[in-house]
Amino acid sequence: MNIKTTVTQSAAVLEIDGWLDTQTAPELGAEIEALDPSVTELIIDMSKLEYISSAGLRLIVAAHKKMNGNLTLKNLTPEILDVFNMAGFSKKLNIM
């Protein structure tokens, strides 16, 4: 899994490439943790995300809380969206 981070003023864009599973989730957690406190809006680009498991879902929820709801998921493939639907909280998230 690769994460490409772009920060513009108060907004950050994370582009995740590959498999986000129990083994790789800590990398994403660390990346989000490392963001400057001035960042108040987070956009995660999932166009290249091939797979997500519950460990990844938990990080999304955590990031949502950290950003006070200013989290946007974009470019979800149908299979990733499917997982969010199964988790039952796709409606709570801002998915583009």
Binding site: T22, S53, S54, R58, M86, A87
Partner: protein
């Protein structure tokens, strides 16, 4: 030795001599005392009488009136001579005066010269002393000579006294007294006693010494020699077996002869035992070697594990070397060959025939012969060189582990059992044992084993086990024990336990041999360490079965969640993942050795969105993705079955 017989005998003999001597002395002394007393009395009487007659023979008046000194002295010499002759102490002549109670001495003599001189003056002629007449003196005066001497104690010592009257012209004119000394009397008695007793004791002692010598020579020394020989019989073998140098014609001699005979017998016996033991040792060593060779050919346990099968065999020979055999091996094309057989008879001969049969069968099957071809070949070879007319029942099978095809042929052996849902005895002709007839024309048979089914081969030593009620273990009991067995090792072990419980310690009469083949089939098992780092391996395995498509990723998602649950919470140390694909159904089984947890019945706590960052989504995902899931706890393992359809999405 506590006591010597010789010493004891000497003590007994001495005591006997002492007692006998004492009794003899007492009796002899009493007897002699009486005798000498009587003699003393007679001597005193005779002395007194002789003196009286001597006095009567001389002129009394000349004697008493001092008229003739010659007559007096002559008479005194006569009396003295009488006194000595009769061993008297004193002899005296006197005239009693009854009116004045006195006596007047006429003459006194003594045997002893010194005494004689003394009494010559003190009790000489005319000496008067006052004296009351004794009874004896009065008797004498009246003319009666008194019969008894009496003991008189006077100034001259204890004496026996005899009083005798002296007559003149028919009347008593004087008395004569004779004294016999009691001391002399005692001396005589002692002397007489000693004369009798001393020789007697000497003779007695001599007799005893001779007896002791004889006892020592005839009894003690031989017994001692015998005892020493018995004592050192085993320790001193050189001497122990020599004949004893005792030649006696009595019980002891007989005992010595018996002992000599016994030691000779023992010597021969020992020599025999030595020979026998040496022989036994050699035979036993050879038997041990034979047994080791047999154990090398027919090991007590054999396990053959293949990718698609497992096989396990157990053999227990009843005697040192037996006739049962089995063989189980994989050949070049990956097929598994299994042979079980039982040779007629037991012991070395059966073992040799067994080795020959087994080796030839092994060669044939290794070269790719079918079971029937192998059996027919071996049968022909055995028939051409079988002088003892031995034979063996054999069942041979070849399993193709890729498709479960089992090719088998029987030569008179017991019918095997097929285990599984459709457990049954294998239907097969009994056939004819190999080694009996040429051209026995054994045929191959085929069945297809289903996955998980096993074939159990056994010798009649299993079914013929007899318990204490004389009941056979039998094929039916065997069938019930193994019918639901999957794993070959478990089948063999449970049969061994059941058989041993049935026999309950009864002796094993026949060889016991069981061989089980379990057909696993095309099973895909992945063993994982329960850590997150194992996930790439799991992913690779899942996607290899499903293909790397959308459905495959979802199935993997369920697998990841199940695996992470086990890895994070169960404390398991090993996880096995088994994949079983049948048409469009994929079954994935997770078994772990962790703490019991049932993910099927576990309640999923409904959480709010904000709480979901703490987890709790995994189980829910699994339940949504898997078409079916069930759980069981078995052998201390959590076993979770997940069933997926491999539909396109």
């Amino acid at each position: 030795m506590k006591h010597s017989i010789l010493k004891e005998t000497v003590v007994i003999f001495c005591a006997a001599v002492l007692i006998a001597s004492t009794v003899a002395v007492i009796f002899s002394f009493v007897y002699n005392a009486g005798l000498t007393e009587k003699i003393a009395g007679q001597f005193a009487r005779a002395g007194a009488a002789s003196a009286a007659r001597a006095i009567e023979g001389v002129d009394y008046d000349a004697l008493t009136q001092s008229k003739s000194r010659d007559v007096y002295m002559q008479t005194r010499r006569t009396l003295k001579s009488i006194c000595k002759s009769f061993e008297l102490k004193y002899l005296y002549v006197y005239e009693p005066d009854t009116e004045s109670d006195s006596i007047r001495y006429i003459m006194t003599v003594a045997s002893d010269e010194k005494q004689d001189k003394m009494v010559a003056s003190e009790r000489g002629l005319g000496k008067v002393i006052s004296h009351n007449l004794t009874e004896q003196e009065q008797y004498a005066l009246s003319g009666e000579e008194h019969g008894e001497a009496y003991v008189e104690e006077n100034a001259y010592g204890d004496v026996y006294t005899w009083i005798c009257p002296i007559y003149k012209d028919g009347s008593v004119i004087a008395l004569v007294g004779s004294d016999y000394s009691t001391a002399v009397l005692f001396q005589r008695t002692v002397k007489r006693t000693l004369v009798i007793i001393v020789p007697m004791i000497c003779v007695l002692i001599l007799a005893i010494l001779i007896s002791l010598f004889a006892i020592r020579k005839k009894i003690l020394l031989p017994v001692k020699a015998l005892s020493q020989r018995m004592n050192s019989f085993i320790t001193d073998k050189g001497v122990g077996f020599q004949p004893l140098d005792i030649h006696l014609d009595n019980e002891i001699g007989e005992m010595a002869d018996s002992f000599s005979k016994m030691s000779g017998d023992i010597k021969n016996y020992l020599a025999n035992i030595k020979t026998l033991t040496a022989e036994r040792t050699r035979t036993s060593a050879e038997f041990d070697i034979a047994r080791r060779i047999q154990n090398g050919i027919v090991p007590e346990n054999t396990e053959v594990l293949g990718k698609f099968y497992n096989a396990f065999a157990r053999a227990k020979a009843a005697k040192d070397v037996g006739g049962d055999f089995y063989d189980c091996f994989e050949i070049k094309d990956g097929n598994l060959c299994a042979v079980i057989g039982d040779v007629s008879g037991k012991g070395i001969a059966a073992a040799m025939f067994m080795v020959m049969t087994r080796t030839m069968l092994h060669d044939c099957l290794s070269s790719g012969y079918s079971p029937a071809d192998a059996l027919n070949n071996v049968n022909n070879a055995l028939c051409t060189s079988n002088p003892e007319g031995m034979f063996a029942t054999v069942f041979a099978a070849v399993l193709n582990p890729k498709n479960g095809e089992l090719c088998f042929a029987n030569a008179g052996h017991t019918r095997p059992v097929i285990t599984g849902e459709n457990a049954r005895f294998l239907e097969i002709d009994s056939g004819i044992a190999v080694g009996l007839f040429e051209d026995s024309d054994i045929k191959d048979n085929y069945i297809n084993l289903k996955k998980g089914e096993s074939i159990i081969l056994y010798s009649d030593g299993v079914t013929d086990i007899v318990n204490k009620n004389n009941e056979f273990f039998g094929a039916e009991r065997l069938f019930e024990v193994v019918r639901s067995s999957g794993d070959a090792k478990i089948a063999v072990k449970s049969l061994e336990i059941a058989a041993s419980e049935f026999a309950a310690g009864a002796e094993q009469f026949d060889d016991y041999t069981v061989l089980a083949l379990n057909y696993i089939g095309d099973k895909n098992i992945l063993r994982l360490v329960p850590r997150e780092s194992s996930l790439p391996e799991l992913r690779k395995a899942v996607l290899a079965v499903t293909g790397k498509n959308r459905r495959g990723k979802k199935i993997y998602l369920a697998c990841e969640e199940a695996f992470v649950n086990i890895a994070s919470y169960s404390k398991a140390t090993a996880v096995e993942t088994e994949f079983e694909k049948q048409d469009h159904i994929l079954r994935i089984t997770f078994s772990d050795n962790g703490t019991p947890f049932n993910p099927v019945s576990a309640n999923i706590k409904k959480k709010g969105f904000d709480e979901l960052d703490s987890g709790g989504m995994g189980l829910s995902l699994i339940r949504q993705i898997a078409e079916n899931m069930w759980y069981k706890r078995q052998d201390n393992k959590n076993i979770l079955f997940l069933e997926f359809t491999l539909k396109e999405e």
